[in-house]
Every structure is written in structure tokens, then in C-alpha cells.
Subunit: 463 residues, 2 copies
């Protein structure tokens, strides 16, 4: 299993980025370690994931005169956790700020695709929460609130579900389902302006636009540590001392040090590894995510489901138990399946995370195959694992500025669906602005998502 997985991932990575890998950005630009390290950049962005790219692009867009360098440890953009995402997008959040970030980002992606003509594979197939009676009642207030805020979320009754998805068992009653404690599906919530997207295309879009403006990249360049310096250096050994005001002076990488006036850390789960040594708590921990790809004739009908969306597929669907969910991937004639695990899953970083088939077998499959017997006896043909940079406190992005360092982290698994708004906010923060203007002209305070005086309601609709 593991060999196959690696191979498949290899293929997938290759397919996504073949153009970048064959014509290495390093050779194209002719930028070596000395070139990047030898000059002082106006802005250095650590991380060429979707968040770093969006931030770099918006900084450069707002300030074309600034020299902006993006570095990444991989050989190309979007090769870290961005590539390992479910890449689903939704606007169904209870907190105003999450809703605003997601709504404006999805609108921007729509705009890129329909107005700018750059395909992002944005498919608004919808989100479908299958809910037990208790769950439905618990969510009722939240749903009404979201609807008042203009979120298009629809209740789907049992009878309708039975017609729309004949493969769904509304009342699981086997011995196994009793043992697991599966409840009947009472109703479903259907988020209409939700769907799926291709992260590699979003990455490509931002990368292209950033380059067009003169933005530069250095790949294969891993930030190892950040060096603080005294704001007013005295030339003494041991600086900076506690009585000196501090600035972020430079970034040490595997290819030499790079200096910049502003340093943006958009390094996902590597962010705390860079900030802990400086005594800055960015409030995130690494949570492993495992995705399993399942394919088979028996689930083919779920990819040809009329009535939910233009794509005629079952929506991105969340089951009533174990936070099990699946994403339809019609182009691969398969589903990506995962579980948003609760307590018991460690916060533990691994350099090369892999998915554990036992997780599918014992945690996901028993639930999936009871509600959707069409998955019975299908084993994953592929799997991969990545990390969420989880902010357990309020599941909302963290955007902070400390001295001349901008910290963008805490995406908590919803980075792709908020990337454009987060990038605009991070750009505004880097410019010292207290307000950012998002796509669609909505304004948002840049202060509320900081590390100090954080004023964010806890998100109540986490899958």
C-alpha cells in the first residue's frame, strides 16, 4: 500500500507541476543563493503555499515598486500542505469574520474563472451535511443565522434525500451500525455556494500574476531560523539585549541568509517552528490529515446524481458520525474520503507524513459503508497525508504583526477557501494599515485577528 501511495502521489505532484519542474524556476530566473542573499529585499515571504502566494501577490499589486521575494523549501509553488488538501470551499461559517473571508475568496475565484478566464476548476457542487435529529436541532439556530447573513443554505428532507441519493441508507440498522451507534438521517443541510477547486490552479494563478508584476521566487530554499537584531545596533557582541528594541533582521536558510525590511511568515505548520525559538506563540499546532482515494463501479452512480448541481454529482458530503466526509472527484472517477478526527489524534509534526490504511479501515469505512453500502468492499487505491495548522482556540486565521514581521497562520484546514481574503489582509498589515479591503469592496479590521487583543468568536460550524 505504502509504495503505491508514494508512487501515486509522485504522479499527482508531477502532473500538477510538470511545467514548473521541467523548466526549473531557479534556472529560468537565474537567481542563485548569492543573488537572493546578497541584496536586501523590501519584502521576503516565507512559504509559497496558497497563503504565501496570495499575500505576495497582493503586496506586490499594492506596491509595485517594492522588491518582493518568495522562498519555499520545495522545488515549486504549492507543493506543501496546499497540495495535500481536500480543496473544498464553503461559505457556511457562523462567525462573521470566517464567513466574510470565505465569501469574498470564493467570489474572487469565481471572478478569476469567469471574468479573467483563468480556469481554477471551481465547481460549486455544494456541501451536504447529513444530520441526525439531534444534530439538526443543534444546528437549527446556526443555520437560521447564516441564512439571515445571506448564506444560501437549504434544508433537504428525508423523502427528498431518498429520491436524490438512492445509494444513501437513511436508517442504518445492521449489527455493526448499532455497535457504532449510527443514527438515522433526519434531514440534510445543503450549502449551495460551496464546492471544490483545484489548488494547483489557484497556485498557478497567483504565481503568474505575481511574476508579471516583477515578483521573484527562490525555490529549494528552506527558512531555518529568524534572526532578531537591535533596532539601533551598538556593534556589541551578544546583541540584541533585553533592553534594546528589536527588529527581524534576516532569515537563515539552507542557502545562506536573506535580509528584508519586512518578513512575512506564511509557512503553514512550520510557522511555530520558526517563532517558538523567539518566544512568540502563534497559537497553532500541527494536526495530521489523511485522505483516501476510493474508486469502483459501485460508487459510479454517486458521481451521476441529478438535482444538486450543474455538475450532476453528489455534493461534498459530511456523514452524521465520526466527522467522516467525502469529496466527489469526477475527473478521477473517484472519491476522496477523510475523517476530521477529534481528540485522540496527536499534535505531532512529521517531515514525511503518510496515511495509515487502518485509519480508513477501522475509523472511516465502518461508518461510510453503513450509510453508503455502495462503498462496501472498496479499498483505497491511493492515499496521502498533510497537516493543518490548527488554531484550537477559535478555528479562525491568525494575522499579526510583531515589529517588522507579519505572521499569517492558523488556517485550521480552511486556508484555500480563505486565501484571497487572508492575502489581502496580510498585505494591508504589512503596510501598517488597520483595515483591509477584500474582493467585493467589503472592509475588515486587520487588528481583530492578531495574537494580542484577539477578538474572534469561536467558529461553531467546523465540518
Amino acid at each position: 500500500m505504502r509504495r503505491e501511495v508514494t508512487k501515486r502521489r509522485g504522479n499527482r505532484t508531477h502532473r500538477i507541476n510538470s511545467s514548473k519542474i521541467s523548466g526549473s524556476p531557479l534556472s529560468i530566473q537565474g537567481v542563485g543563493a548569492l543573488a537572493a542573499g546578497g541584496r536586501r529585499w523590501d519584502v521576503l515571504v516565507i512559504g509559497a503555499g496558497v497563503i504565501g502566494l496570495s499575500t505576495a501577490y497582493h503586496i506586490k499589486e499594492n506596491n509595485p515598486q517594492l522588491s518582493v521575494l518568495v522562498i519555499d523549501r520545495s522545488a515549486a509553488s504549492g507543493q506543501g500542505d496546499t497540495a495535500k488538501s481536500m480543496a473544498a470551499v464553503r461559505d457556511t461559517f457562523t462567525s462573521d469574520v470566517n464567513r466574510l473571508l470565505a465569501r469574498s475568496t470564493i467570489d474572487f475565484y469565481k471572478h478569476v474563472q469567469s471574468k479573467l478566464g483563468f480556469n481554477l476548476n471551481l465547481n460549486l457542487v455544494g456541501y451536504l451535511w447529513l444530520l441526525s435529529k439531534n444534530q439538526f436541532e443543534a444546528y437549527e439556530n446556526i443555520t437560521n443565522q447564516m441564512r439571515k447573513q445571506g448564506i444560501r443554505i437549504k434544508v433537504v428532507d428525508r423523502d427528498e434525500l431518498a429520491i436524490l441519493i438512492p445509494d444513501l441508507v437513511l436508517d442504518p440498522d445492521t449489527e455493526q451500525s448499532k455497535m457504532i451507534g449510527l443514527e438515522s438521517v433526519h434531514k440534510a443541510l445543503h450549502g449551495l455556494d460551496c464546492g471544490t477547486v483545484a489548488p494547483e490552479l489557484i497556485v498557478k494563478f497567483y504565481e503568474n500574476e505575481f511574476k508579471k508584476l516583477g515578483g521573484e521566487f527562490e525555490f529549494g530554499t528552506e527558512a531555518k531560523s529568524l534572526h532578531l537584531g537591535a533596532k539601533t545596533p551598538l556593534g556589541l557582541p551578544g546583541e540584541p539585549f533585553v533592553w534594546q528594541d528589536k527588529v527581524f533582521k534576516e532569515v537563515e536558510t539552507n542557502r545562506g541568509t536573506i535580509s528584508a525590511n519586512t518578513i512575512v511568515i506564511a509557512a503553514g505548520i512550520r510557522t511555530p517552528m520558526l517563532l517558538d525559538p523567539l518566544g512568540i506563540d502563534c497559537l497553532v499546532k500541527p494536526k495530521k490529515t489523511q485522505i483516501f482515494q476510493v474508486r469502483g463501479d459501485s460508487v459510479g452512480r454517486l458521481l451521476r446524481t441529478k438535482g444538486f448541481n450543474e455538475q450532476n454529482t453528489t455534493p461534498f458530503t459530511i456523514l452524521p458520525k465520526g466527522e467522516v466526509y467525502f469529496r466527489p472527484v469526477p475527473s478521477e472517477r473517484s472519491f476522496w474520503v477523510a475523517s476530521a478526527a477529534g481528540i485522540g489524534e496527536p499534535f505531532k509534526f512529521e517531515e514525511e507524513p503518510t496515511a495509515d490504511e487502518n485509519n480508513y479501515k477501522y475509523n472511516i469505512y465502518p461508518i461510510l459503508s453503513e450509510y453508503f453500502p455502495c462503498f462496501a468492499n472498496l479499498r483505497p487505491i491511493n492515499s496521502w497525508a498533510g497537516f493543518y495548522d490548527v488554531n484550537s482556540l477559535d478555528s479562525t486565521p491568525i494575522l499579526a504583526k510583531i515589529s517588522n514581521c507579519v505572521i499569517v497562520t492558523g488556517m485550521s484546514g480552511s486556508g484555500i477557501m480563505k486565501a484571497d481574503a487572508v492575502g489581502r489582509m496580510a498585505a494591508a498589515i504589512s503596510e501598517g494599515k488597520e483595515e483591509a479591503t477584500l474582493f467585493g469592496d467589503q472592509r475588515i479590521s486587520t487588528l481583530q485577528l492578531g495574537l494580542t487583543n484577539r477578538a474572534v468568536p469561536r467558529e461553531e460550524f467546523v465540518i
Copy 2:
């Protein structure tokens, strides 16, 4: 220096706990690993620091019928970071909850000492913040608010300071002080109901009271990991699965596993090490603290300062720069000096932390010796280091219950001054109560300090 330090620490520890070490609690009680592990306890408290002890005592006091076991990795109580504290107490906090926790704890300590006749070496010598003009103005609103809340905090003018503390240089003007950027002392704030206390006596008090009620200890017993189990076990290998409700089943220690119906984690900075593997983010990181003991004839006059307190000593004093502060220790004819370092100090745990004399030499001494030239040329005769369990978010304790596990952490360097109130709250939480009654009969919601729906204003008066 380092050898001397180790030796001195050894002495100090020995002095404090000689009775406990010579008559080992293990042998006294005759409780072996099997005895503790072989039965199921009603409550297991991990950590015999001041927080664990206060919690254990209040649980047992409220529920004498419960079997309560406290375990600790050390050979006796209070040997971890409790012993390494500055052990100062203050009620000058801006957040209602911090003020309440500290106020009621100090009142309880007063009660223990004056009514119960158990000496805690509580000396209300006061806190003295020496402030520059800018600092004083920045704190003015905060001070007025605290005063309205009944906190006794007094402004001391320059002229008065000059008379009370002739050793203080109000207007440092040497080359060095200009280089460091030292400002004139504009005024001072004097917290009257603040002072110092002996942690080893507080520890002894709680330990004695807990034992009188039948509470038990197992020392030399280190919690290595917590085991989750299914609430309703099915007897299958690999339990608990994601679809099962979970309970904290037992604690694995170096001396076997211990089972309990309720597990309280009061393990200071070791708390995240126990919870991270379960994917529970308790929001704290380890911040090293270093204390230097300084003694000399030249500073003797600071220990004989009339006008501030009954003890006729300079109060616990905070300087205007570098967050440098000192604690008078008349019984040792010396001062304990430290700096509450800002960014630049790493979050990094060490098993055997030691103080670095360079920290004294380059960070603390230059500031200390300019404002108080009587410290000039004095080098530390002793030093030690410990850890704060820092909650960077709001510098306020964290009290949460997840399943049958109570988490008490995030003291952020003010554990001793809040220990009694925190213990009462943790006891109430362990009993499933939504409200706790503190010493002095004030009530406080137990929900506001949790990990979810945390509703705590950021503390603005952090040293």
C-alpha cells in the same frame, strides 16, 4: 559559577524539604506502585506543585468520601517550578478575573497565617513600579480602574521617592544609561496589598491539610502518558475508534499505570507534553525564568527602608526598563533579581534548566546598576532557573474539563498568588459545577477560563 549554583540550589532544596526527604513519604505511607496502581482512585491529581496541592485539598475538602491520590515525579511536594518562583503576590491586575483570583488567594493566605496560625511568611512589603513619564501616562487609566475596583494602589512622587529610597538614581545620565536608553523615573506606583510569601510553607500547609483528610501521595511517580478509552468499550483491538465517545482511562507512569474516575492535570509546563499526544491544545508554552541572588554590604540599606511597610524594606521593585525587577529577601540579607524577558527568549523546555550568568551581566546588571548604583560590582552568589507555563493569549489561568479530565494550567508566572482560588475552581470543575465559591464567598463562573468559549480579557498589567 555553575558548580556553585548547583550546590546552592541543592542546599536550598534540602533546607526547605529536609523533613520530607529524610523521612521519605513513600516509606512513611508504605504505598508502593502496586498499591496505587492496583486500585481505581476516584480522583488522581498529576502534580504536587502548589496548584495540584490546592486542587487536591479542595476536592478532598468538598468530598471527603472520595479517594484522592496526588502523584509527582519528585521525591516530595513543591519541588518543581513552585520552588523556583520569585514567590511574590499581588492583587494589581486589570482583568476582573485575575484580580479576583489573586485577591481571594492573598486573603486566604492572610487567613491561614493570622487565623489558623500557620506561618506562610506572607509579608506585605508591597510592589513598587518605578515608571518613566510615558509609562506612567500609559498606566494612568489602568491604575484608576484598579483603584475603583478596590485595589489599594498609590502614586509615589519623585520627591517622595528621593527621600524614601536615597539609593535610587531618578535621572540616570551616564554614557551607559544613554546607550541603553534609560529614562528618568517620573513617578512610582505602589501596590499596598502585595508582597512576598514562602512557597514551601504554602505547599506544606496544603499537604498537611490534604493528608489530615485522608488524601494520599505517591512521589517519584512521573506521569508519562494518558490513555484514552472508549466510554462504552466493545473489547475490540484498536479501541477507541473515532466513532466512540472517549474517556481518560488511566495514566501510565514510570511505576505502572494508575486508573481513576477523574484525572486532574496540574503538571505545570509538563501539561502540554501530556495533552499534545491526544490532540488537545492547552494553549501554553514553556518560558524559562532565571533568578539571581545578589548580596553585599552596599545594598544593605535597601533592606532597611522605612516608610513603605511594616518590614521596613524596599518593596518588590520593578524598574522602568528591560522588565528588570527585584525581591528583597531580608532573611538571606540579599535580593533576588530577574528580568521578565520579552521576545527573543525561546519557548523551549529543558529537563534541568540553569541560569546563565551572562543574562545577569548583559541584560539585567546594566539597568540595575544605573538606577541602583549600590548594586555596582556585585555579582550573583547564587542563581536558579525554572519555567513558566505561559498562556500568551491572555496571561490568565486555564481551567477546562474534557470528558473526565480536568486541566489546570497557564499560570503564566502568577500561580502561587492565585493558587487557592484556582484550586477551588478546579475542584468545582471536577464536580461538574458551573460556579465556584472562592475564599471570601465571592462566586465565579467556571466556564469562562476554559479552552473553548474562553471569555477572558487580556491582562494588561503583566509586571
